[in-house]
Each structure stands twice: as C-alpha cells, then as structure tokens.
C-alpha cells in the first residue's frame, strides 16, 4: 500500500513539474510574432509523417541515421511497457497485461530485443562522441553544457535499458522459482543471459527486481522532466516543428508586407498604406522580433551540427555556425523567460539577440546557400533568422559595410549592383567574340 502511495505521489509530482516546464516553453515561444502557417494542411501532415516520424532526412548520413532510427523506434516501443508499469504501480498488480498470453510473451520478447539494439545504438553514439571526437560535435557553441547534455542523455538511456533487462532477468528467475506474485509471464530472449549473474537467494532477487522496477520508472519520470531543459526536447517538438516548417521553395524569402505598403505608397502617391503599429521594427534585433515558428525552431534544435558541418562559411573557418544561431536564439529566449519570472513582463535587461549573442561578423558571413536548411533533420531554418537580423542592421540601423552600401546605391541609381551606365546594358548584343 505504502509503495502504491509513494508511486502515485511520484507520478503526480512528475506530471505537474513537466506541465510547468512546458507552459514556460510555450510562453517563451509565444514571445515571437504571429505567422500563419496553416495552409496546405495535407502537405504539412505528409511532411511531419515523413520527416519527424519517418526520419527521412536522418539517413543522409547512414551510420548515424540508422542508429538513430534504432534508438528511436526502440525507445518509443519500449515505452508501451511503461503503461503496464504505471498500472502495476498504481494498483499494486504485477505484469497486469500478462493475460494477453502468448501475445504478451511476444511483446516482452520484442521489447528485450529492442532494448538490446538501443543499447548497441547508444554505445555507438557514445563512441562517436567520446572516442572518435567527430568534428561535427565540436565548435565554439559546443560549450560544457551542450556537450554534457548529449552525454547525460546517452548515459540515462544505458541505465534505463539496463534496469529494464535486469528487472526482467530477476523476474524470470523468480517466476521459475515459483515465488508468489511472480506469475509465469513473458519471454526473455535477451535477459535470460543475465540469469547466471544473479544471486539465487529469493530475497535478494526480489530486492533486485523491485530496485530495477523503481529505478526504471523513476528514471523515466526524471527523464521526462529533464527533456524541457535539454536538446532532447526534440523528441516532442520535432513533430510540430516539421508540421509548421516552410513549404515554399527554399530560395523564396518572404516579402515583408509592411515594406510593400510603403513602397506602393512611394510609387503611387494616391495609395494610402494602412497604419502600422509604432512598435514595429523592420527585421529582428531580439527574439521578440522573430516569429514564433523561428522560436519553436530554436527549442527543437538537437544541436546535431549537421547544418554547421555543411555550411560553406563555417567550413572555411568563418565565425558563422548555423547551429550557434539556433542555440543562441534559445538561450536568449530562456534568459528573457527567466527575466519575466523574476522581474515581471516588462523588464528590459538592455540586452538583445543581435550583438549580445550573435555578432555582426556571423550574420554577414552567410551566403544564403540553404545548405543548413537542407541538412537539418527536423526542418529548422537558421537562414531565416540570419536574414531577419540583416534586415534590422540594414533597414533600422543602416549599419552595413561600405561595399554593400555601394551595391545598394548602384542598384538604386543605375539599376545594377555594379557601377555601369544603364544605357550600356544592351551592349553585349553588339559585341562579337
């Protein structure tokens, strides 16, 4: 009885804590501007199924891709087992689904095999991070926290899977010994190999079985609450993120509506533009100037670095790293969130995403090549943030290098980015080589 009460309390606490974290994240994402991304719904669903559920973009790098799918499928399916654990925990039952008979045996057997595969995948991932020292996992933005975040997750998975298998082994041994409460149920193709390592004494076995059971479920609840603070949150946000991702061709950059009104008024004096809100800025200086999809992108980023490793600017040693753009956006959002918690909604800490997090040198190194967008396995668009920061620098501050300014004035005065006379534009037709 006591165990049941403790279990229920733990469950409720975990759910409440998780809800609080999620609410904060939603509030932070809503700091962003509105954007309508609800068109073409069938295509959006298809994208989500393909990219988030089907992980179609992961296999662009086959080793990591296949391992990731393994760990992912295993993790999701093994969590069906969590349902049983929760019911058992609340009602004090044991293996409540065992009435399913041979189907139950099949389920448990597949969980075990998957658990083994997950372990395998996770070990490969750990080796890639700790032994192989792949370049993709390095970079200026990969400071102590993001690095350990990745390792923690992998270690947690190892612990959870090991607890699951050890629990099954002890259970199996108790079943064989005919101990009361441990009804004969399940099939244990993997954990049977652990049997010889376990003691034969019944009390120790029960202790091990119970310990692993508690460790497994408390571990999962703790993991759930770790998610919102971690890059691992992508296992949830990948779904909405791919659903709301841009569908237009990658080369299409949005036409700013506020600008359209002003330009129309300039070209046609009889056109009266609608009044614009005084707070409106052209482009983005801080996260509030971005739209909420861009902010959701930042929370979805898995920090995998596929974007950065295909970025021509980064490859050639420039400061720009699209992964850093996403991580900075998230860090800044969280900073503003903490400010709101501490000092109220209107607090201004005098900082901004541009300059305090992302430097001018970074945004001007981008070739807008879309390699980062193409590479991202969860359809994040770092380029759109870079562009919005550039728009702020150009349109609000007129803060650009002389050569870009010269290009602008050439276009304005000569209709070409170079200083040529418009009258010479057609001369090519009269030249013969």
């Amino acid at each position: 009885m006591l165990a049941q009460i403790i279990f229920i309390l733990a469950l409720i606490t975990a759910i409440i804590a998780f809800t609080i974290s999620i609410k904060k994240i939603i509030r932070n994402i809503n700091l962003g501007k509105d954007i309508d991304r609800t068109d073409h719904q069938p295509e959006r669903w298809k994208n989500m199924l393909k990219v988030a559920l089907g992980q179609s973009k992961m296999t662009a790098r086959p080793v990591a891709g296949i391992m990731h799918i393994l760990v992912y499928v295993g993790f999701i399916i093994i969590n069906i087992e969590v349902l049983e654990i929760i019911i058992d925990g609340i009602f004090g039952t044991h293996r409540v689904f065992s009435f399913l008979g041979s189907f139950y045996n099949f389920l448990i057997a597949s969980f075990e095999i998957l658990a083994l595969l997950v372990l395998l995948g996770v070990f490969v991932f750990l080796a890639r991070r700790l032994v192989l020292q792949l370049k993709r996992f390095k970079g200026i933005e990969m400071t102590a926290w993001p690095k350990s975040d990745a390792i923690y997750i992998l270690v947690i998975e190892v612990l959870l899977m090991s607890a699951f298998l050890t629990m099954n082994a002890a259970d199996y041994k108790l079943q064989q010994a005919g101990v009361h409460h441990y009804t004969l149920a399940g099939s244990f193709p993997v954990s049977q190999f652990i049997l010889p390592l376990l003691p034969t004494d019944i009390n120790s076995l029960i202790l091990i079985e119970r310990f692993c059971w508690w460790f497994h479920i408390l571990g999962i609840l703790a993991f759930l609450n770790y998610l919102p603070f971690s890059k691992h949150f992508h296992i949830i946000l990948a779904f909405p993120n791919t659903w709301y991702a841009k569908l237009a061709p990658k080369g299409e950059f949005n036409n700013m509506e506020t600008v359209s009104h002003e330009v129309k008024a300039m070209l046609n004096p009889s056109y009266t533009p609608p009044a614009i809100d005084a707070n409106n800025k052209f482009g983005a200086k801080d996260v509030q100037d971005l739209n909420w999809v861009q902010l959701m992108n930042a929370y979805t980023c898995t920090e995998c670095g596929r974007c950065t490793s295909s970025c021509p600017a980064n490859i050639t040693g420039k400061l720009l790293s699209p992964r850093k753009i996403m991580m900075d956006t998230r860090d800044r959002m969280e900073e503003i969130g903490r400010n709101i918690d501490k000092h109220g909604k209107d607090y201004n800490d005098g900082k901004s995403l541009l300059d305090d997090y992302i430097s001018r040198e970074e945004i001007w190194a981008c070739t807008t090549c879309n390699a980062c967008v193409e590479a991202c396995p969860v359809n994040i668009d770092p380029l759109s943030i870079i562009l919005d920061l550039r728009r702020f620098a150009v349109m609000e501050e007129s803060n650009v290098t002389g050569s870009l300014n010269a290009m602008f004035s050439n276009i304005e005065n000569n209709g070409a980015p170079w200083k040529y006379s418009p009258a010479d534009r057609f001369n090519w037709a009269n030249k013969e080589d």
């Binding site: 330009v263 021509p312 420039k318 390699a371 304005e412 070409a416 057609f426 037709a429 030249k431």
Partner: protein, 262 residues
C-alpha cells in the same frame, strides 16, 4: 553581331515573343558572362525560338539587395520590373541566372508578377528533347571529363538538379560528380550578396574550398549554370594556376560549341 530583338521592337512590329530572355545584370555587363548571354541568344536563334529581351529597359531584379536585408530596395526594384513586364504582357521568362530565376519565379508573384519562369538549362534540355538541338558539326566533348557545379539558387533553392545534367549527358562525355553535389553541393561563395563585399575573415575563401572538390575529380571542364559561380570558379582555377588544364564553361556555351554556334 547577332540579331536580338527587344520587346519595344516586337511591340512596334505588332508581334509577341514566345519567351522573354531575362539577361540579368551579370549577363549584361560582366565580360565573361556576356559571352554566355551571346551563346544562349545564338541557341535561341538557331532553334527558331521567337524571343525578345528588354534591353535597356531591364533592371536589377533586386536579388542582392534582398539577400543583404534591404527589403525596401528589393521591393522597389521588383515593383518597377513587374510594371514593365506586365506592361508588355509577358507570360514566359527564361534566364541564365539562377538568382534572377529564383527571384522572379518565387518572390515576384506575391507582388503582382505572375510568370512562367524557367532556367536556361531547362529550356536547352527541352530543345534537345524536342530534337531541335542535334549536337552536330560542333566541337566534340566526347570522352572529356566534365563536372557540374550546382548553383545554390537553382539546386537547393528550387530543386533543379536534373536538367543541366541531362544537357551534359548528350555530349557523350565522361561526366564525374564532385563529392559534394546536388542537395549537398557546396556554394561557390558568391550568394547572399557576398559577391559584392569582402569575405569575413577565415581560413580560406569558399571558392578555394570548392576547387578542392573540382581538382579531386580531375575534370577538364567545370560546367556552371550561374554567372556568379562562373566568376568564383574561374578565380578558383586561377588561384591554383590551372588555366591550362581546366576550363570553366556555362552549359549554354558547351551546348553552343557542341552545335557549332560559337
């Protein structure tokens, strides 16, 4: 001299072109790109395509301004161009510049400019498929090692990977892909208004990095489909002092040479 009709001429003669050839700023002014423009105009003429250009009425699409964050200037350019294009009742546009292609195709519609826009490599492929370009009498590229560099604004930005490759396939050449190609192609370094500024400091320039991929293929010809890529690859070849071994050619030039048009 090639006879290139302008829209003004056409209208004056009471005629309408099948397609407008949007030349672009690089194609109009840059000496190297002008040769590509001429080659493509010759292909159009050779195939009896009724085309016209805007001539001095053409203006920058605004692409470099937009990528650099100057949305005002971009929309000014766009709206002025749309006025000219709509004034001439243009329906179909072909251009040899992926930046113009992308901008007119994707960013003009919501400002009032709706056209059927294709890249010159796509039109050349159509002409080959229709049997209008026969690959006769011209320079043979048979057995030559050719590699194609994907322009970001044609490839990733708009998903056009096949047309330029199909055009090269008819040459019976030895086509080799670089290790980074198609979706994974590496930028030449000129996009996003980089063409008009000094690069930020780093280990090397992007086109030099790209040249490593080219050199690895041992190609004798680098085929391009963008005037900016042309400049960057040409500079890259020069950097490695490979002018004798490696030629940088636009797909239009290769096709024109192959058909004995230049």
């Amino acid at each position: 001299m090639i006879q290139v009709p302008t829209m003004a001429d056409m209208i004056a003669a009471g005629e309408e072109p099948e397609v407008l050839f949007w030349v672009g700023c690089a194609g109009s002014y840059d000496e190297r790109a002008q040769r590509v423009t001429q080659a493509f105009a010759k292909i159009l003429t050779h195939c009896n395509i009724k085309f016209a250009v805007l001539g001095t009425e053409e203006n920058c699409t605004g692409d470099p301004a937009k990528r650099a964050g100057n949305e005002f200037l971009f929309q000014m350019q766009a709206m002025m161009n749309i006025e000219v294009l709509n004034g001439y009742n243009i329906k179909k546009i072909v251009t040899a510049c992926p930046h113009c292609f992308n901008t007119i195709k994707n960013e003009y519609p919501n400002l009032g400019g709706h056209y059927d826009v294709i890249h010159h490599t796509q039109l050349i492929q159509e002409l080959i498929d229709a049997g209008k370009l026969k690959a006769e009498n011209g320079e043979s590229f048979k057995g030559k090692k050719i590699t194609y560099h994907d322009p970001c604004y044609l490839g990733r930005a708009n998903g056009v990977y096949e047309a330029p490759r199909k055009v090269l396939e008819v040459l019976d050449a030895d086509l080799v892909e670089m290790k980074r190609c198609k979706q994974n192609g590496l930028c030449c370094g000129a996009g996003g208004a980089q063409m008009f500024k000094e690069p930020e400091k780093g280990k090397k320039d992007v086109n030099i990095e790209r040249m490593d991929d080219v050199l690895e293929t041992k190609a004798e010809v680098v085929a391009v489909g963008c005037p900016f890529c042309m400049t960057m690859m040409k500079d890259g070849v020069k950097h490695f002092e490979k002018e004798q071994e490696i030629e940088v050619l636009d797909i239009a030039e290769i096709t024109a040479r192959n058909n004995n048009l230049i």
